[in-house]
Amino acid sequence: MADEFPFEISPMFEGERIRKDGMYVELAGPKSKGFELVRAADINDIEDDKFTLIGPDLSDMEEGSRHPIAMIYKIAGELVETDLESIVERRNHEFQNYIQGLMHLNQRDDVWLRLGTDAVNKGLTSFEYIAKAIMMLFKNELPFIEKVEAIYITDIQEVEKELDSAKEVYKARDERTRNLHDEDVDTFYGCTLCASFAPTNVCVVTPDRISLCGAINWFDGRAAAKVDPEGPQFAIPKGELIDSESGEYSGVNEAAKRLSSGEYDRIKLHSFFEYPHTSCGCFEVVGFYIPEVDGIGWIDRDFAGTAPNGLQFSTMAGQTGGGKQVAGFLGVGINYFRSPKFIQSDGGWNRVVWMPKILKEKILNDIPEDIRDKIATEEETSDIESLKNFLSEKEHPIVVRWNEEEEENDVQETPSPQQQGYEAPQMMQMPSNFMPSIPMGSSGGSAGMKIILKNAKVSIEKIIIKKDE
């Protein structure tokens, strides 16, 4: 059939909708079954450009009918490996949409195709044309593919049989992607969707840190940045690793400076106290330091009650939000609780003392088993006193810190280094017993504070300077 196709192939056909009125056949979709799958194979087991069809072809299908479809591609090449399967598979969506008169939606076992009557009238009467075009595009656009073979199935029994093994492949793939960590990649992604109301916010999305709103993971960032590198999600080269424990990278610090217009120049991805991630306002959960127990509580947007410190989500969110680094508070997305690096530079789960019951239940299986029962909820505690008692009773690891602290109590505290724009919580709105103290970083250097006034209108009638008596 050579390279002659009875249709045009161009990216300009992406987004072309085939309506029921102008549809020849519908394949897979919500009312039928199907899937697409790319498998890496041994180069000797593949006959390049071969197409196999199991089941009826387009010419055997009645106009207006619906059929299942499975599209399996075997790819091979020196550089082809299992990890590339999902990336190549994703391109099937794109390339099929390049074909005029063919609509391809969704992915994996949720694919949904429609072929237009016009396309069939112009000669698209066999799946072979489509498969051959896709194989050509695979090899042209992805040169690491040296050989490719396509198997399309339209027989329902065969589709169902293969579907189970496809699902196994997807599952194994998902397990691999869940095991991807910050150290495995060289690019993180930033997002500026909140920039309009949190102008100094620096949202950094990494494999171990979901966006604060909980909506964008590292893969979403990668997908969006690839389509539109100038769009709201963009690449942040990781740069040099400065500190693995707290998750400090030179690339993130540079991005912080740029995105916050100089407000912040350091962000530690997995730190609660020192140079924490900024908090936009969209965060699903806010973490708050409870100085009386030296622990961290977490309160989520859906919890309407008050935390042991007497405050509600809305009050703490108000203090934390706006794209600032705020001492003693941190906004996060719920999925961050599932991160193996969850506030690891400040003790991780061993520092967590309280969260609302519904939130705790939601992530229960992700809480390390030995601490699960030691985290209080609103059912066990209503104030600091009952929280203290609960933690002692359950022998929460934080209790060990209390004893250590008592011993060190006489040691004079030194001010921690703070960067420009670093904000202290507004004490006026705090209960009088609330006084977050920031644990000292070992990085030292009491450089003090730099105060920058922006758009400030200061009017002073009189200044009297007196010697202190």
């Binding site: 300009m12 056909f13 992406e14 987004g15 072309e16 909708r17 309506r19 029921k20 009125d21 919500p30 999902s86 994703r90 969506h93 005029q100 939606l105 969704n106 992915q107 994996r108 949720d110 949904w112 997807y170 793939r173 998902d174 992607t177 869940r178 991807l180 997002c191 969707l193 909140c194 966006s211 709103c213 909980g214 909506a215 964008i216 993971n217 590292w218 893969f219 979403d220 997908a223 969006a224 709201p232 969209c282 965060f283 699903e284 947007r301 859906d302 719920i334 999925n335 599932r338």
Partner: protein
Amino acid sequence: MFSVTKIIAVTGKGGTGKTVTTSLLIRHLTKTDNLVLAVDADPDTNLPETLGCNSSRTIGDIKEYMHEERDNLPPDINKESILESKIYEILEEMPGYDLIVMGRPEGSGCYCYVNNLLRGIMNKLVSNYDVLIIDTEAGLEHFSRKIFKDVDELIVVTDGSRRGLRTAERIRELVGELETEVSNIYVIANKVTDTNREIITSTAKELDLELIGMIPVDEMIVERDMAGKPLFDLPDDSTAVQEIERIAQKLGL
């Protein structure tokens, strides 16, 4: 396939008859061989019923689904293509037009990301049609969220009351505050009788509103409204239908 899509938004105070006007405009457009995408962007969803089209799920439901399921989806799955597919699923395919219902408002979480995806998908989808017509509440919420881009014709439907015309004036002010580009703003008076015809004309003039049509009280519409019957198949000799034809001509439709 892709063409320049004319974008019409129909708005107005509740109860003035904007959904009736929208339905009759869609009726006219499909009769003149335009492929139409109709969007019900009023939380008090009436357009499907007025058109005689069953619609069960809404964009709001899908946004909620995306919100609820996001941590359960495979990590590297493409969320844009899931969202796109779900939108295609709820798109009601009728002869000559497709219908989308925006539905319920957002929950308390952050919908920035899903709205951003939605903007891109809607933009692509809209380019498949000759005309996009949006039945929207007077607050123009979906426009402030920029789900729809520029509007060619914004039609404010008003009844005979001075308040209805005042709403038109306020909508004009609101449009000025939106980032959406609106090329023209017109007013259609609905439920017009011989007694209020003159006062509507003079009030519109006084408020500097461009009145492009006056739909008389139509007994056929009143009857169908009472019985909860659709208006899409009104006969050509309905007085309202005839006035809509004249309005459409003025709008170049």
